[in-house]
Symmetry: C2
C-alpha cells in the first residue's frame, strides 16, 4: 500500500504569491498541477494522464494570465478533465477537497459536467466544443453582454465532422471573440494520429476555412505569452492556435516522444499507473518543481499524502469484449467477406488481434463515426460483410441516420457497440450508454442482442455472422470485466426471441440481460429469499427487440408479478417491449407489473456507487421489489398514476443520498 502525494492548497497560494515573472511562475504552477492531476488519476484508478499533461501549460497560462471574469473557457475533448480540475482547485474556483474524489459519486466526474462549479459545458463526446461556444457568444450578443470564449480541442478530435461544420459560420459571422486552441500532441487514444487518419497540413486547412491561425510550442510559456498577445490583431476573425505539445509532457517515460515509431500503442492515454510507475514519475516532477522554487529563492514544495485506496478486483470475471475479439477472428477466418471498421478504439473494442491477422481487411476510420458507418454501407452494397465497431454511446447516436440509411438499402451490416450500460461509472454520462436500444429500436431489420457471458458472446456472434441471418445486427457489449454469480444451463441454446431461466421462482419473475443486471438480479433473488421469503425467478433474455410470444407467455403466465430490468433508460428498452407484448397477449392480468432501469442521466462514480445511486444494485432491487409487492398487496394502492417525467427524479438522484434507493419508478401511489 503506497502513499499518493498531492500539493496542498496553501502551497499553491505560496507559489502564486512569489515575486517572479509570470512565464516562470506559470511553468511552475503547471508542474504543481501535474502532480495533482497524477494524484487524482492514480487515486481514482483511471483517467487520462497523457492529454492532461500535454495541455497543462496552455491551460495554466489561460487561467493565470489571459481569462477575465467575462470570458468562458472549456475543453471540448473533456478527457483532460483532471488537468482542468487541478487548475480550478488550485485557484479555489472548485472546492479543493474534490481532488480526492475524481470519478467518485458527488465528486469530480470523469468528463466535465456543468453541475460542477466553474465547468461551462458538458463535454467528452468529441467535436461539439466550438458549436457550443458559438451559442454562448450568441447569447452574449443577444443579451448585450461582453466576453470572449476559449475552447481547447484535441487533435484526434479534428477528425470529427462537427468540428469542420462548426468552422464555417464562425468565419462568416466574423466571430472575433472566439479562440480555439488545438492541443496538438500527435497521438489519439493509443496511436499516432498519422497512422489513424493523418491531418495533413493543418495550418492550410484551418486558414482555408477563414480562421486566423497561429502556431506555437505548447510547452514554451514565453512563446505562448507572445502568441496570445498577438491574437488581438485579428480583430474580426475567429482565431485558432495550434499548440504543438507532447502527450504525457512532464514525465520523461510518459512522453509521446519516448514512444518508438514502431510501437503500436502509447501506454499512458487512459487507465492509471501501477505503484512502481507512480513512484518513478513523482520525483521527476518534484525535482523540477524544487529547482524552479530555489531559483526563485523559495523553499521546496511541501507535499501531503494519503494511502492509495484498495481497489477490489473481480476474481473470475467475464470478459465479453475479449470473447468477441476471439470470435471475430474465428469467423473472419472462415468468411473472407468480413471486414472490420474501427473508430479509433481498436484496443478497447478488441480489434487488435483482427488487425494483426487480417491487416488488409481492417479499416481504421479515426474518430469519424458517420463516415465509418456510411463506408460500411457502401461496402455492404458491393458484397462485403462489414462489422462496425465503436463505443455504444458513439455508435448508436452519432451515426444514427447513417445506420437507418444503410437499413433502407436492405444490406447486412453488423454493428458492435461496447462500453454499453451504466458501468463503468467513471467516465460519466457521455460514455455511459443507456439510450442505444431506444435510438435503434425503429431501424427496420436491425436485431439487437446483448449477451451476458463469454459463452453467450460466442453464441451471439455465431448468430450475427451466420449466412442464415439476413438481418443486420447490433451486438451490445458490456466492457467492464464482471464477476457473474450464475451460469447458463449446459443445454442452453440461443434461439431468436427466447430466453432462459437462471433462477426459478414462484412469487415473481424478473427478466433482464447482460452480466451486470443479471448479476445484481441473481443476488437480489438471494436477498429476497433469505430476508423476505420471496421467491423471485430471474430470466435472461439477450434479445433486446425480439421476443417469442409463446416463450414469454410461458414465463409470465403463472407468476403474480413481473419485473423487467434494463441496463438502459426505462423508456425504450427491453422492458417496454416486454410489457407491450404482455398487453398484446391479453392474458388475464391482475399481476403486478413494473419496469426497473435507469430513470435519469447516469451519475458518475465507482461502479458500486453508480449502481446503488440508481437503485440498481442487488440491495436496491431487493428493496424496490419488496416495496412494490407490499404496496400492490394493499388494494388501497391499486390506483393509477401518471408516467413520471424524468425531471421529477433528477433532484433526488443528484442531491439527497438518502433518496438514492428509490431512483426507479416512483412507488405505486397517486402522485397527482
Amino acid at each position: 500500500m503506497i502513499d499518493l502525494q498531492y500539493v496542498p492548497q496553501d502551497e499553491f497560494a505560496r507559489v502564486l504569491a512569489l515575486e517572479a515573472d509570470r512565464v516562470r511562475k506559470t511553468a511552475l504552477f503547471a508542474d504543481l498541477c501535474r502532480l495533482n492531476a497524477l494524484y487524482m488519476i492514480t487515486r481514482a484508478g483511471s483517467g487520462h494522464i497523457g492529454t492532461s499533461f500535454s495541455c497543462l501549460d496552455v491551460v495554466s497560462w489561460l487561467y493565470l494570465n489571459e481569462l477575465t471574469a467575462a470570458d468562458v473557457f472549456f475543453s471540448s475533448k473533456g478527457h483532460d478533465a483532471p488537468a482542468l480540475y487541478a487548475v480550478l482547485t488550485a485557484l479555489g474556483k472548485l472546492p479543493f477537497d474534490k481532488i480526492h474524489a475524481l470519478r467518485r459519486l458527488d465528486g469530480l466526474p470523469g468528463h466535465p459536467d456543468v453541475a460542477t462549479p466553474a465547468i461551462e459545458a458538458n463535454t467528452g463526446s468529441l467535436g461539439m466544443g466550438l458549436s457550443k461556444a458559438k451559442g454562448m457568444l450568441l447569447a452574449n450578443r443577444v443579451l448585450g453582454r461582453e466576453g470572449r470564449a476559449f475552447v481547447l480541442t484535441g487533435d484526434g478530435e479534428l477528425q470529427e465532422g462537427q468540428f469542420w461544420e462548426s468552422l464555417l459560420s464562425a468565419a462568416n459571422t466574423r466571430l472575433g471573440n472566439l479562440t480555439a486552441i488545438v492541443d496538438h500532441n500527435k497521438i489519439q487514444s493509443d496511436i499516432w494520429i498519422s497512422r489513424v487518419s493523418d491531418l495533413g497540413d493543418l495550418e492550410a486547412k484551418l486558414s482555408s476555412f477563414g480562421w486566423h491561425v497561429a502556431r506555437v510550442d505548447g510547452h514554451d510559456l514565453g512563446a505562448i505569452a507572445r502568441t496570445f498577445a498577438s491574437l488581438a490583431s485579428a480583430v474580426d476573425r475567429p482565431k485558432i492556435v495550434i499548440a504543438d505539445t507532447i502527450k504525457g509532457r512532464g514525465v520523461s517515460f510518459m512522453e509521446g516522444t519516448a514512444l518508438r515509431p514502431d510501437d503500436r500503442l502509447y501506454r499512458f492515454h487512459s487507465g492509471s499507473p501501477d505503484d512502481e510507475t507512480y513512484l518513478k514519475a513523482v520525483p521527476e516532477i518534484v525535482e523540477r518543481v524544487n529547482a524552479a522554487l530555489s531559483s526563485m529563492r523559495a523553499a521546496a514544495v511541501r507535499l501531503e499524502s494519503l494511502p492509495r485506496p484498495e481497489r477490489p478486483m473481480p476474481r473470475r470475471p467475464q470478459r465479453l469484449v475479449a470473447a468477441y475479439s476471439r470470435a471475430l477472428v474465428d469467423h473472419a477466418g472462415r468468411n473472407p467477406r468480413i471486414v472490420a471498421f474501427d473508430g479509433d478504439l481498436a484496443l478497447d473494442t478488441g480489434l487488435l488481434p483482427f488487425e494483426a491477422a487480417y491487416p488488409d481487411r481492417f479499416i481504421e476510420c479515426g474518430i469519424a463515426e458517420q463516415d465509418m458507418v456510411s463506408q460500411a454501407g457502401g461496402a455492404a452494397l458491393k458484397g462485403l460483410l462489414p462489422v462496425v465497431h465503436s463505443f455504444a454511446c458513439f455508435l448508436s447516436d452519432r451515426p444514427n441516420e447513417q445506420i437507418f440509411n444503410n437499413a433502407t438499402e436492405r444490406t447486412k451490416v453488423i454493428y458492435v457497440g461496447s462500453l454499453a450500460g451504466l458501468v463503468p461509472g467513471g467516465p460519466g454520462h457521455s460514455h455511459q450508454c443507456v439510450r442505444d436500444i431506444a435510438a435503434l429500436s425503429a431501424v427496420p431489420g436491425l436485431v439487437l442482442i446483448e449477451p451476458s457471458t463469454e459463452r453467450e458472446v460466442d453464441m451471439a456472434a455465431a448468430y450475427c455472422f451466420a449466412e442464415t441471418t439476413r438481418e443486420s445486427c447490433y451486438l451490445r457489449l458490456v466492457s467492464v470485466p464482471w464477476d457473474v454469480p450464475f451460469e447458463l444451463p449446459a443445454d442452453y441454446e440461443l434461439l431468436e426471441g427466447r430466453g432462459v431461466t437462471l433462477v426459478p421462482g414462484r412469487d415473481a419473475a424478473l427478466v433482464a440481460y447482460g452480466p451486470v443486471m443479471l448479476g445484481e438480479a441473481v443476488q437480489a433473488a438471494e436477498l429476497l429469499r433469505d430476508r423476505h421469503d420471496i421467491s423471485l425467478a430471474v430470466v435472461n433474455l439477450p434479445w433486446l427487440n425480439r421476443v417469442d410470444r409463446i416463450w414469454f407467455a410461458s414465463v409470465v403466465r403463472d407468476v403474480p408479478a413481473l419485473f423487467t430490468l434494463d441496463n438502459h433508460f426505462i423508456h425504450g428498452g427491453q422492458g417496454d417491449m416486454l410489457l407491450r407484448t404482455l398487453a398484446e397477449l391479453s392474458l388475464p392480468n391482475e399481476r403486478v407489473v413494473r419496469r426497473l432501469g435507469v430513470t435519469d442521466v447516469p451519475v458518475c462514480g465507482r461502479n458500486d456507487e453508480v449502481l446503488r445511486a440508481h437503485g440498481l444494485d442487488a440491495a436496491g432491487l431487493c428493496d424496490t421489489i419488496v416495496a412494490t409487492l407490499a404496496l400492490r398487496a394493499d388494494p388501497a394502492n391499486r390506483r393509477v398514476q401518471k408516467d413520471p417525467p424524468y425531471d421529477t427524479e433528477v433532484g433526488r438522484v443528484l442531491s439527497d443520498p438518502a433518496d438514492r434507493r428509490v431512483q426507479k419508478d416512483p412507488p405505486y401511489t397517486v402522485t397527482k
Copy 2:
C-alpha cells in the same frame, strides 16, 4: 387541362446515332433530358427542377463518354433524381415507361433507392456520398475487382460535417479511383449559399485536404471533356471537380442568374411549375434542341404528350406549420430570450415571418444540424431559449447525440421537427420521418408532442414556450396541408398526458395523434359503423411519451378492444408507451390489444397510395380492425406468436399489391 410533352425513347436512339462530335451530341442529349426531367416533375406535381437542370450537362457527359461498365456513379444530393432518371431511361438502363411514374408507387422514388435498376446507393440525406463510395471501392480492393467511383454532390451539401469527415481518409489512402464532382450552382434550397453559410475559397479548402482539385464551367461540354481527361494525371490522389453551374440552367427564367441579388427566394428549387410556367419553358428548350439538330442536318425532335393529371387539392386544409409560424412570432414578441435556429429550411419550417420580425434573433446555420443543435445548447447555457428547426428526419437523427448532450446540461431547448410522418409520400424514405419518436424517447427530460389541428398547434406551442414548462420539448409537425374530418371539442384543453375523445364508441377504442392518422381513423370509424355495425371510439392523444394513467385507465377500462395507431414505426412509438402502460395498470385484461402503424421502410408514392400501401388509409384500418376482432373472437386463434421481424413484411409491402391491405401487424395466428 394542358398536355405535357416528353421525348420518346426512339428519339434518343436517333440522336445518339447521329454523326456528330461528342461534345455537341452530349449537349443536345442533355437538353432532351431536360425536357423529360421537366415532364416528370410537372406530371408528378413535385420535384427539384433547379438542381436537375444544373447537373444535367455533367451527368450526361459521364454516362455518354466517361463511365465504363466497371465504374460506379451516383448523386449524393439525391434530389436531382429526375435528371438521373431522364438519362437512365434515355439510355435504356431503366425501363422507359417509368418516366410517367415519378414519385408514384412502384415508380421512380423522389430520392434514389437501390431497389430501382441502375441506382447504386440510397441518397437524399446529405453528406453520405463520398463515404459510401469509399466503401464500394474498398469492396473492389478486397474482392479483387476493378472500377472507379464518381460521386456528384451539391454545394450546399458541403456544409454537412460528414462531407469533410469523408475527405481525410481518401487522401491518406491515396484513393486515386475516386472522383467527386461538386454541382456548384451557388444556391441551396431557395437561397444564395453566400447568404446561408458561405463556402469561402472552396478550391483552397479542398486542396488543403489533399485532394486533386479541378474547376470547370459545368455547362461547357468542351471544357468538361478536357477536365475529365486531365484527371488521369493525378494517379494516386482522390479527385474533385468543382463544376461551376447555374441552378435551373436551360430555361432562361428558371436560371439562378435571373434571380436579383435582393430576391430572398429562388422559385424553382422544389415543387412543380404551374401550367403557364410549363408552357413557357418547353418551347425554349425545344427551340435550342431543334437548332442543334438542324445544324447536324437532322430532323426536328418529335415529342409525345399526355394530359397533365388532375391533382386533388384539399378543400379546407389544416396548415400546422403556418400555425406554428404565427405562434412563434407571437411568443417571441413577449419573450426576448427566444432565438430561432434554422438548418437551411426557413421556408419549409415557417421561419420567414420570424426572420423578418426578429432578424437579430434568427440564426441561419445551413445544412449543419449537429453544429446547429450544439449552438442551441450553448445559447441555452447562457440564458437564451433556443428553438431549433429542421425536418423531423434530419433533426431527430443527425444530431441525436448532440440533443442528448444538451439534455445532460438540464437546460431547456425547444426542437421543432416538421415534415413528420409517412406523408407527403413523394420525397421517399429519406424524408418520411417515422423513427423520431423512438430515437428521442430515451432523451431525459424531453417532452414529445404532436398536435392535430391549427388550434392544437397553438396550445402545444403555448405549452412549449411556457415558463412553467421546465423540460425541453420536441414539437412534431405534419407539414402537408390536410383536410381533417373532425373538430376538437370547444372546451378541449391541452393537459399533460391527457387526450380527448373525438368519436365515442363502445366496441373498441383507437388512440392516435396528428391530422393524418386521426383523419383516417375517424373515417374508418364511419366505415366500421356503416358497413360492419362496429362502434369504434377515436381518441386524440397529442402526447407521444407522456400518458396520464388515470385518464388512460378511463379510456380503456370499459372497451373490449384497444388499438393504437402511430404515424411512425410500430416499434418505439406512442403505441408502445400505451400498451406498456396498459400492462402496468394491471386491469383485468381479456381485451383485444393491437398496435397499428408503419411496419417497414416507407414506400414512395402519392399520399393516398402510400397510406394504402401501408394499410393505414381509412379502408385499410377498417379491414384490419374487422379482421382482428373476428380472429380474436374465435378462441382457436387465441394463440400467441412471435414479434414479427420487419423483413418478413418487406416482400409484401414492396411486391404484391393484393397484399398491401395487410401491411400492419400480421394476423393473430401462429407464424412459427
